[in-house]
C-alpha cells in the first residue's frame, strides 16, 4: 500500500509539473495579453510530435530533439501571434474563440498527418533508481527536475531582470509601463511566444513518458487552466503548486475512488476556488 501511495504521489507530482508548465503559460499570457490561450494544448501536442519526429525519424539524440521541438513550437507560436492573436489583445471572448478555432484546425491537421494511431518514442534513459525501497524511473525524475528548473528559472527571470520588471509593470498598468519606455507590443508577442515554447517543452518531455495522440493537448490545457485558477491567475510559482496539487489529488484519488472521478477533482477545485477564494490560493505572492 505504501508503495502504491508513494507511486501515485510521484506520478501525480510529475503530471502536476506538466500541468504546471502549461498553467504557467496560461497565467503569463492572461496577465500580459488579457486572453486565455486554450490553444496552448495544441502547442504542447506540436512539441510532443516534433520531439518524436526529431528522435525517431531524424535520429537526433533526445536532448537535442527536445531543444529543436521547443524551437519549432516557439516559431509556430510567433506565426500564430502575428497572424491571429495580435488582433485579439485584451478581448477575452474573441481570443478564446480564435484559440478554439486554432485547436480545431491544428488537431485535425495532426490527425491527417500522424493518424490516430498512438506514437511511441524509443525508450529514453531506461532504468530505475532504488531509493529507500522505492522504485523511481530515471526518466520521470529527470522530467520532474527539468520542469522544476524551468519554472523556478522563469520566476527568477521575472523578478531579477529588467524584462521581468517590465512585464510586471505592464500587468499592473499598461499605459504607465509604455510611458516608462516598455515596448509593449514586443513584450506581448514575447510573452505569447514564450508561453508556447513552455507548452512545447512540456510536450517534448511528455513524449518521453507516454504515447502520443493528436488530442493529447486538449485534456492538458483544461487541467492547466484549472491549475492556474486554483493558484490564482498571475502567480508564477503558484501555477507550479496548482498543477502539483491537481496532479497529486488525481493520483491519490484514483487509489480510493473509481477512476471515473479522475477528471472531476479539477472541476470541483475550480468551482470551489472561484466561489470562495476568487483570487486563488497564492494570491498576492507573485
Amino acid at each position: 500500500m505504501g508503495q502504491l501511495i508513494f507511486g501515485q504521489l510521484l506520478n501525480g507530482a510529475i503530471i502536476g509539473t506538466l500541468y504546471g508548465i502549461i498553467a504557467l503559460g496560461v497565467t503569463l499570457t492572461f496577465g500580459i495579453t488579457g486572453i486565455v490561450n486554450f490553444a496552448l494544448g495544441v502547442f504542447m501536442m506540436l512539441g510532443a510530435y516534433a520531439a518524436w519526429y526529431f528522435t525517431d525519424t531524424a535520429g537526433l539524440p533526445y536532448p537535442i530533439a527536445v531543444l529543436c521541438a521547443v524551437g519549432v513550437t516557439a516559431l509556430a507560436g510567433l506565426v500564430a501571434d502575428q497572424a491571429l492573436f495580435r488582433f485579439t489583445r485584451n478581448n477575452l471572448v474573441n481570443g478564446l474563440l480564435v484559440s478554439i478555432g486554432m485547436i480545431a484546425v491544428l488537431e485535425a491537421t495532426a490527425l491527417l498527418i500522424f493518424t490516430a494511431t498512438p506514437k511511441e518514442l524509443h525508450r529514453v534513459m531506461p532504468g530505475v533508481i532504488q531509493f529507500m525501497g522505492f522504485v523511481l524511473p530515471k526518466m520521470k525524475l529527470t522530467v520532474f527536475l527539468v520542469l522544476l528548473a524551468v519554472i523556478f528559472g522563469t520566476y527568477a527571470a521575472l523578478t531579477r531582470t529588467w524584462i521581468g520588471r517590465a512585464a510586471y509593470a505592464y500587468a499592473q498598468n499598461p499605459e504607465a509601463a509604455e510611458l516608462m519606455g516598455v515596448r509593449t507590443a514586443r513584450l506581448q508577442t514575447g510573452v505569447v511566444v514564450y508561453s508556447t515554447a513552455l507548452a512545447g517543452l512540456g510536450g517534448a518531455l511528455y513524449a518521453s513518458l507516454y504515447s502520443l495522440e493528436p488530442t493529447l493537448g486538449s485534456l492538458f490545457v483544461l487541467k492547466a487552466v484549472e491549475a492556474a485558477i486554483l493558484a490564482g491567475i498571475g502567480s508564477v510559482i503558484g501555477s507550479l503548486f496548482g498543477g502539483v496539487i491537481l496532479g497529486v489529488t488525481e493520483g491519490v484519488g484514483s487509489i480510493y475512488l473509481p477512476l471515473a472521478f479522475r477528471d472531476v477533482y479539477g472541476l470541483v477545485f475550480l468551482v470551489a476556488i472561484l466561489l470562495f477564494m476568487p483570487a486563488g490560493l497564492f494570491a498576492g505572492r507573485k
Partner: protein
C-alpha cells in the same frame, strides 16, 4: 416592421412551408430538420450570450440532459413524449436555477462565468458517461418511440420538417417578444454595463437568471426533439464541442438580432453535407470559419449584410 420587411417575411414563411411539396429529396429535408433544430439551440444561446452578454458553456448540458430526462421519465413514469419533454425542460430549468444562482450570486463574469458553467457542464457529462445503470454509459441509448401529435405519429422526414419548423418559429417568436419587452431592455442594460444597471434599480441577479433559465429551457426542448428525431442518445450530446459548435453558429450568423443565429446554424449544418469532406477536413474548415469570422466579420453574416444595406440606404 415596414411593409417591405413584412412582405419578405411572409414570402419566406410561405416558401418554407411549401418546400416539402417541391423538394422530395430526403437528404435535403433531413439537413433542414437538423438546421432548424440547431437554429433553435443557437437562438436560445444567443438570448444569454448576445442579448444579456453572458458567455454560457452550459448549453450542451441543458441540451443533452433533456434528452436523457425525457427518455427516463417516459420509461419510469410511464408518461407520453410531450409530458416527458415538459418534465425534462422543467428539470433542466431547476438545474439552471441552481447553476445560475451559484454563478450570479457570486458575481462571476466573462471568462469566470464561462469557465464555471463549463465546469458544471463537464460534471454533467462525466456523470452521464459513468452512470452506466441509468444512462448506459458510452454506448448510449436507442430511442424507438416517436412523438404523437394531433393523432399523427411524427415518423417520416416531412412531418419532422414541419414539427421542427414550427418549433423554430415559436422559439423565434418567443425570443423576439422577450427581447423587445421591458425584460429585453433589462437584458441589454446588463450586457452594456451591469453595474450601471444595478445603480438604476435593475435587479441584475434576477434578470441574468431569467435569461439563463429561459435560454436553457429552450435548449432543453430542442434536446428532447433532437434526440427523438435522431433516435439515439449518447454522452457526446453534452460535450464541450457541442457548446463550441453553438458559439460558432451564433458568431457566424451574428449576435445582434434574434433571427441571425439561424443563418449561421443553417450554413454550418448544411455545409459539411453539401461538400463531401472527411471528418478532419471538415474540422479544419470549421476552425477556419470560426477564426475568419472573428477577425474579418465580427458582426457575423447577418450583421455585416444589415450594415451594408443601411449604408446603401443612407447614401
Amino acid at each position: 416592421m415596414r411593409f417591405q420587411n413584412r412582405f419578405l417575411f411572409f414570402a419566406l414563411a410561405v416558401a418554407l412551408l411549401a418546400l416539402p411539396l417541391g423538394v422530395k429529396s430526403d437528404v435535403v429535408l433531413t439537413i433542414l430538420v437538423f438546421s432548424w433544430l440547431q437554429g433553435m439551440l443557437a437562438v436560445s444561446f444567443n438570448l444569454i450570450f448576445g442579448f444579456t452578454g453572458q458567455l454560457t458553456m452550459f448549453h450542451a448540458a441543458a441540451f443533452g440532459i433533456a434528452g436523457y430526462a425525457t427518455h427516463l421519465s417516459m420509461q419510469h413514469l410511464g408518461v407520453g413524449y410531450w409530458t416527458g419533454t415538459v418534465l425534462a425542460a422543467l428539470f433542466v430549468s431547476v438545474l439552471s436555477i441552481i447553476v445560475g444562482t451559484i454563478c450570479f450570486r457570486f458575481r462571476l463574469k466573462e471568462f469566470y462565468f464561462a469557465i464555471v458553467t463549463l465546469a458544471f457542464s463537464e460534471m454533467a457529462r462525466l456523470t452521464v458517461l459513468n452512470w452506466n445503470s441509468v444512462t448506459n454509459g458510452t454506448l448510449g441509448i436507442n430511442l424507438q418511440e416517436k412523438p404523437w401529435l394531433f393523432g399523427f405519429k411524427v415518423n417520416d422526414t416531412v412531418s419532422w420538417y414541419y414539427l421542427s419548423l414550427v418549433a423554430l418559429a415559436v422559439t423565434l417568436l418567443v425570443c423576439s417578444r422577450l427581447v423587445h419587452s421591458w425584460m429585453g431592455r433589462c437584458f441589454s442594460a446588463i450586457r452594456l454595463n451591469d453595474e450601471l444597471g444595478d445603480t438604476l434599480g435593475i435587479n441584475v441577479f434576477r434578470y441574468k437568471l431569467a435569461a439563463f433559465v429561459a435560454g436553457n429551457f429552450i435548449a432543453a426542448v430542442t434536446g428532447s426533439l433532437y434526440a427523438y428525431y435522431l433516435g439515439s442518445l449518447e454522452p457526446g450530446f453534452l460535450s464541450i464541442d457541442q457548446s463550441l459548435g453553438i458559439v460558432a453558429m451564433v458568431l457566424l450568423g451574428g449576435r445582434s438580432s434574434v433571427f441571425a443565429p439561424v443563418v449561421g446554424a443553417v450554413l454550418l449544418t448544411a455545409l459539411p453535407h453539401l461538400i463531401h469532406f472527411s471528418a478532419e477536413v471538415r474540422s479544419i474548415v470549421y476552425g477556419s470559419i470560426l477564426i475568419l469570422t472573428i477577425l474579418v466579420m465580427p458582426q457575423g453574416i447577418y450583421g455585416s449584410i444589415a450594415a451594408l444595406l443601411r449604408k446603401r440606404h443612407a447614401s
